[in-house]
Symmetry: C2
Subunit: 422 residues, 2 copies
C-alpha cells in the first residue's frame, strides 16, 4: 500500500505487476480477500472514524457545505454498510473465465472467447470515502488491480480505508500492489494518473461534471465516463393514462438527483388535454417546477403553474425537482425529439400500441429503452448485476450499467495440434 | 454522395441522419444494397479503371514507389474481387438485433440486451482504393452509416468507387448519406473528421503508423487502432519439435509483413540445442535475418548466420524477414518476456505439457493466445467472422479481429406493465 510519497508512476507499475498475478488467481482467493476486507473494516471502525473526524474537522474549518460534510461523514452504520457491500460483491458470480463464445473452426482449431480482467483500473472520485471500498471490491472481484485517487477533502479517511483494505487483501493472498491509493487529491495527481499509458488500462471518474471535464482535458488512457442523463418519458396516444401518471411521477420524483430520473415529459397531442392537467397538478404539488411548450401550457389552461420552456430546457439535466413538458403529434416526433436532445441514457414510452412500442425501441438511440416502465430502473442493482460503478452513455465497450463484466476484457484462446496456416 | 466541396461537418451530419434510418432497416434491404453495389461496380468497371488511370498517372509523375503504385492499381480482376467481397459480406449473418443476453427481473420486467449499430463509423485509409468498398460493405452490413476519407493519391479512384456505391445503395433503399466520401485526403480533413463529436461514433484508421500517429494527436471521437503486432512463438521443453518447427516457419514466413507474423522466437533451454540449429538453418535459407541472445547463438555454434540481438530487437516489429531469438529457462520466463515486450496481439506456445499450456493461456496478456498453432490464424476470415476491418490490441470494446459484431454497440430493451421503482 502506497499512501504517502510514492510517485504515481511507481504505484501504477506496482499495480501492473500485481495485475499479472491477479489474472491467474481463482475466484476463491479473490472472494476471500473481499471477505477479509469486510471483516477488517468492521474491526477497525474506531480507527476509521478517528481519521474521518480529522477530515470533518478540516472540512468544517475550510467551510465545506453541509451537503459535502454529509457525504464525507462516516459513522458505525456507514462502515458496516461498506463491509456489507464488499461481502455482497464477493457473493456475486465471477465474471472472469466466462466463455463468451466458442467454436471449432473447419480446420479443427478450437477457439474460445474468454472473459479476462482488464488489468489495472484507476478510479478517481470525490468526497464520499465509501467509494474507496465499493470501487476496490468491484475491481478486485473482477480480477483487476485498482489504483484509487480520492479527493483531498477525504484524504485521512481514504488513506485509512485503503490501508486497511490493502493489508487485508495481501494477508488473504492477493499480490502486493493489488490495491493502492495515490496520495494527494490534486489535479497534478489526476493528470499524472490519467497519462500512465502502458500501466493503467482504464480510468473511471466517479464524481461531478467538473471532475469529468478535468479528466477529459488530460487523459491519454482509456476512460469510461459515468454520464448523467437527460431522460424522457413519452406518453403515447394509446397510453394507459393511469399507468402513465404513475411512471412519470416515479421517473421524476422517486430520486430527482440521479442520472436515470426523467427531465422531460413528452405527450401525444391526442391525450394532452386528458393527461396533462392531472399529472402536472400532481407534479406541481410535489414541488416540481414545470416548463412547457405552448400546447402543454394550453392544455392546463395557461395556468401559472407552468412557465414557458426555452430552447435550453430541452437540453437541460435538471437533476432536481424541475421538468420540461412538450406535446408532440406522433411517436416519430417524440423519437426525433429524444434523439436530438437526449443524452442516450434511459428513455421510456408509455403505450398500448405494439407498433409504437416497437418503433420506439428500434429508433431511440439510448443505453436503455423502456416500454411501460419507469426510467429509474437503469441501475446495476436493479438489472441483477449486483453492483455497478456507474452508468455509461458511451457506445463502445460499456453502455448502461457498468458492472463486473464491464470491468473485464476478453481474449481468444485457440488450441490446435500443430496447426499452420496454408 | 458528397465528394467535392461539402464541408466535413455537413457530411457527418448527413451521415448521422442516415444512421437513424439505417438503425431501423431490416437486414434484407441492407443486403440488397450490398448486392446492388457489387453489380454496379462490375457494370462500371470501365469508369473505375479510367479514374484509376488518372491516379496512376499522377502517382507516376509525383514519383510514387513501385510498391505504392501496385497498391493503387486496379484492374478488371481487382474490381471483380471488390464486388465479390461485398457479396460475401452481404451473405454473412446479420449482427444487428442479436440478443446478447436476456432475463426477467424478479419484479417481472423483461430485459433484453440487443446488438445495435454504432451509428456513424468513419474509416480513414491510405493508398488502396479497394478499402473504399470493403469498409463500406462492412459498415453498411452492420447498419452503420460510413464516412470515408482516403488518401489524395487515390482521390479519383475513391471518388468514383464511392459515387457508384452510394448511388447503388440509395437506389436499393438505403437513406441518402449512408455512404459518403470526404473530399481531400489531407491532414486538415483528417483532423476535422476526428473531432466530429456527436456525429461520428467511431473512427478506424486503416494504414501505417504515420496515419495512426496523426490521428492520435487530434482525435476526440472514439478510435479503434488496428494495431501491428510484436508476436512470439515459445517452444517449450516438452514441445513436439517437428510441429514447433512447422509453426515457427509458418508464423515467420507465410506472410512476414502482417501483424500476426512472429517477430520473436523463444525456446526453452532444455531443447535449445536440439531445436535451434535446424529451425534457424531453415529460416536462414528462407532469407530471414536472425538476431539471437548469447545462448541462442551458442546453440548454433556461434555461426555467423545469427548476430547478437540488441535490447531493441525484443521490442521491434520487423514486419519483414527478420527474427529475434532467445532462450529461456521456464514457461514463466517466457510469459514474463512476452508480457514485457509483446504488443498484446497474438502469442503462441508449442508444448505437450498441459500445465505449461494452461499457465501460458492464463497469464499471457494478449488478444489471441495459441497452443500448438501458428499466430497467423488471428484473422476475421480465419475465425469465421467472414471479414474484418483490422485487428485490435486494445482491451476495451474490440480485442482481436474487428468484424461485424465489433462494429456494433448494444442497448437494453426493457418491457414492463406500468412498472415503477419502489
Amino acid at each position: 500500500m502506497a499512501t504517502t510519497a510514492t510517485p504515481v508512476a511507481e504505484i501504477c507499475a506496482g499495480a501492473k505487476r500485481a495485475s499479472r498475478t491477479l489474472a491467474t488467481l481463482g475466484s476463491g482467493i479473490r472472494n476471500s480477500a473481499l471477505e477479509a476486507i469486510a471483516s477488517a473494516l468492521v474491526q477497525s471502525t474506531a480507527e476509521i472514524l478517528e481519521a474521518n473526524a480529522r477530515d470533518l474537522e478540516a472540512g468544517r474549518e475550510s467551510g465545506l457545505s453541509e451537503a459535502l460534510i454529509d457525504r464525507l461523514t462516516l459513522d458505525e452504520r456507514r462502515v458496516e454498510q461498506m463491509a456489507a457491500g464488499a461481502r455482497k460483491i464477493a457473493a456475486l458470480p465471477d465474471p472472469v473465465g466466462e466463455v463468451i463464445d466458442g467454436f471449432r473452426l473447419p480446420n479443427g482449431l478450437d477457439v474460445r472467447k474468454v472473459r479476462v480482467p482488464l488489468g489495472v483500473v484507476a478510479v478517481v472520485y470525490e468526497a464520499r470515502p465509501n467509494v474507496t471500498i465499493d470501487a476496490a471490491a468491484l475491481c478486485l472481484k473482477s480480477g483487476n488491480a485498482i489504483v484509487l485517487r480520492g479527493s483531498s477533502t477525504a484524504s485521512h479517511s481514504n488513506a485509512v480505508l485503503a490501508g486497511i483494505a490493502a493489508a487485508a487483501a495481501t494477508d488473504a493472498g492477493l499480490p502486493e500492489g493489488a490495491l493502492s491509493l495515490v496520495a494527494g487529491g490534486g489535479r497534478a495527481e489526476l493528470a499524472e494518473l490519467a497519462t500512465q499509458t502502458g500501466t493503467i488500462d482504464l480510468i473511471i471518474p466517479r464524481g461531478g461534471e467538473g471532475l469529468k471535464a478535468a479528466l477529459k482535458g488530460v487523459a491519454t488512457v482509456p476512460v469510461i465516463y459515468a454520464a448523467s442523463g437527460n431522460c424522457h418519458v413519452y406518453v403515447d396516444a394509446t397510453a394507459d393514462l393511469e399507468a402513465a401518471q404513475a411512471i412519470v411521477l416515479n421517473a421524476k420524483l422517486q430520486r430527482p438527483g440521479v442520472c436515470n430520473a426523467a427531465e422531460t415529459l413528452l405527450v401525444h397531442a391526442d391525450v394532452a388535454d386528458a393527461f396533462l392537467p392531472g399529472v402536472l397538478d400532481a407534479l406541481g404539488q410535489a414541488g416540481v417546477t414545470l416548463h412547457g411548450d405552448d400546447r402543454a401550457r394550453a392544455s392546463v389552461g395557461g395556468a401559472a403553474l407552468i412557465d414557458a420552456a426555452t430552447d435550453d430546457d430541452w437540453d437541460t439535466e435538471y437533476l432536481a425537482l424541475e421538468l420540461a413538458v412538450g406535446v408532440v403529434d406522433s411517436t416519430a416526433e417524440a423519437i426525433a425529439h429524444i434523439n436530438a436532445h437526449g443524452s442516450g441514457h434511459s428513455e421510456a414510452i408509455v403505450t398500448r400500441d405494439t407498433e409504437s412500442a416497437r418503433t420506439f425501441q428500434l429508433a431511440v438511440d439510448a443505453a436503455c429503452v423502456y416500454v411501460n416502465a419507469s426510467t429509474r430502473f437503469t441501475d446495476g442493482g436493479e438489472f441483477g448485476m449486483g453492483a455497478e460503478i456507474g452508468n455509461s452513455t458511451q457506445k463502445l465497450h460499456a453502455r448502461g450499467p457498468i458492472g463486473l463484466r464491464e470491468l473485464c476484457s476478453f481474449k481468444y484462446l485457440v488450441e490446435g495440434a500443430g496447426h499452420v496456416r496454408p
